[in-house]
């Protein structure tokens, strides 16, 4: 690590201007914070978090629709655990559950299908969030439901695609990013080649890395080396898992069930072809049509800066709610709810850097 730190400092001096790098993946954010990677950064190198936490980028309107569905007596909501405490306009799924809604945590999309098989008299709606890594699992669940001819299973789709989000960030003149640490497990599915357009069209270095502190640090050094030349290349430092063309079976699953469509993101708004719509041939498994869901407006919690955190415009420590009003126990925004959210990562590992007295309040998480 010391050698990498020295090289990084030398490269930063050579470049002679501030450099902003984004870790796109929430798991990278958590591990960078946890292992103290930020403390090895020279002053000129800024490592910012990106939109890589699925719960954090899920639009408020989706949370509200899910809670409304959960409050119907005939419905079971099956969800991954980190969606439970995200606040909607009228409480969270956890609050709805405490008031009698049947909300069940599942570890797999197939578990949601099993819940539907075991409860034939109830409608099971699976909250499908996640990026390319998670989408094939949802596709497989829908295919399984179709094979089983299930009539009481549907999916409320909110899958997101990483590349459109990266392009949106690069197209915003207020956010100047010099290079990306690319998500390793998205690459396992999509293949590393999907980042090619970011390198070719936007001339931004991209490095795919694994999840250890050393791997993250090495990725940062590789990015800064490129910036020092300057050049823009796609490098893969996680070749044992991320192949250049990814997992073709997973890609086929996605293509069979989904088609790229408009998606609403927290912070980034609506973007064409940035999400996955269920194909018409699987339409009866789409909860939007099946349950006549109409989405409302997205209203951010007052004072919450999650939207700016997700897009790298500010850091959790810059938010006036951080660690005082907003904590993992009483989260205001999704970035504090999710274990992959930047605010929770900063709360767990970096809140001592906050100058306010609230930073010294000890809260067990």
């Amino acid at each position: 690590m010391a050698l990498l730190e020295t090289e990084l400092a030398d490269l930063a001096t050579t470049i002679g201007r501030p450099v902003k790098l984004m870790e796109v993946c929430g798991t990278h954010t958590v591990n960078a914070c946890r292992s103290g990677v930020h403390s090895f950064m020279p002053k000129a190198v800024d490592l910012i978090s990106g939109p890589g936490c699925p719960v954090c980028v899920t639009a408020q309107r989706y949370i509200d629709a899910l809670i409304e569905l959960g409050r119907r007596n005939d419905t079971i909501i099956a969800t991954y655990g980190d969606m439970l405490r995200v606040a909607g306009a009228g409480g969270s799924l956890e609050v709805a559950r405490s008031e009698g809604a049947d909300v069940r945590v599942v570890t797999s999309a197939l578990e949601a299908v099993e819940t539907a098989i075991k409860n034939p008299e109830r409608d099971v709606v699976f909250a499908a969030v996640g990026f390319e890594t998670t989408a094939p699992a949802t596709a497989s669940a829908i295919i399984t439901a179709a094979n089983e001819k299930l009539l009481n299973f549907s999916v409320l789709p909110a899958h997101k695609l990483v590349i459109p989000a990266m392009k949106a960030l690069l197209s915003d003149p207020d956010i100047r990013i010099d290079g990306f640490l690319c998500p390793g497990h998205v690459s396992v599915i999509t293949g590393g080649d999907v980042f090619g357009p970011i390198v070719k069209d936007y001339k931004k270095p991209c490095v795919i890395v694994g999840f250890g502190a050393n791997q993250i640090m090495e990725g940062i050094v590789h990015l800064v080396r490129q910036i020092a030349v300057p050049e823009a290349q796609l490098e893969n430092l996680y070749p044992e898992a991320a192949l250049s063309r990814g997992n073709p079976i997973a890609q086929e699953l996605i293509d069979r069930v989904f088609v790229p469509g408009m998606a609403a993101w927290r912070a980034l708004g609506e973007m064409e072809e940035s999400g996955l719509d269920i194909r018409p041939e699987f339409g009866k498994y789409d909860a939007v049509g099946r349950h006549g869901i109409s989405f409302g407006e997205d209203r951010e919690p007052p004072g919450c800066r999650c939207a700016e955190v997700i897009t790298g415009r500010c850091k959790p420590l810059d938010c006036s709610l951080f660690a005082g009003v907003c904590t993992p126990i009483y989260p205001v925004g999704p970035c504090m709810v999710s274990s992959e959210g930047s605010c929770q990562a900063y709360f767990r590992y970096r809140r001592h850097e906050l100058k306010s007295p609230m930073a010294r309040v000890r809260v067990e998480v």
Binding site: R34, S35, P136
Partner: protein, 86 residues
């Protein structure tokens, strides 16, 4: 986003396998890794094996996630926390 953990396949029947993930034993789908069988190591994400890895790579990854970072104590989290997206 999208954390995937290495697990060893202990039993399998068609596309469903039982894997050992630290102290836990769990059911996963092998639909995306059809060539994996008993004794093989796979990366597991949200109940699905997404990639087959060598034992050496699996052990190294496991060391990274347990010693350096991504899981406090495998199997020691609450049921709600265990079911995180991704």
């Amino acid at each position: 986003m999208c954390l995937a953990l290495p697990a060893k396949i202990e039993d399998c029947l068609d596309e469903i396998a039982w894997v050992r993930l630290g102290d836990a034993r769990m059911k996963v789908s092998l639909v995306m890794t059809p060539e994996a069988g008993v004794g093989d190591w796979v990366l597991v994400h949200a109940g699905f094996a997404i990639h087959q890895v060598t034992e050496d790579d699996a052990r190294e990854t496991w060391m990274i996630v347990t010693e350096h970072g991504l899981m406090e104590k495998p199997g020691a989290t609450s049921p709600d926390q265990k079911a995180e997206t991704a």
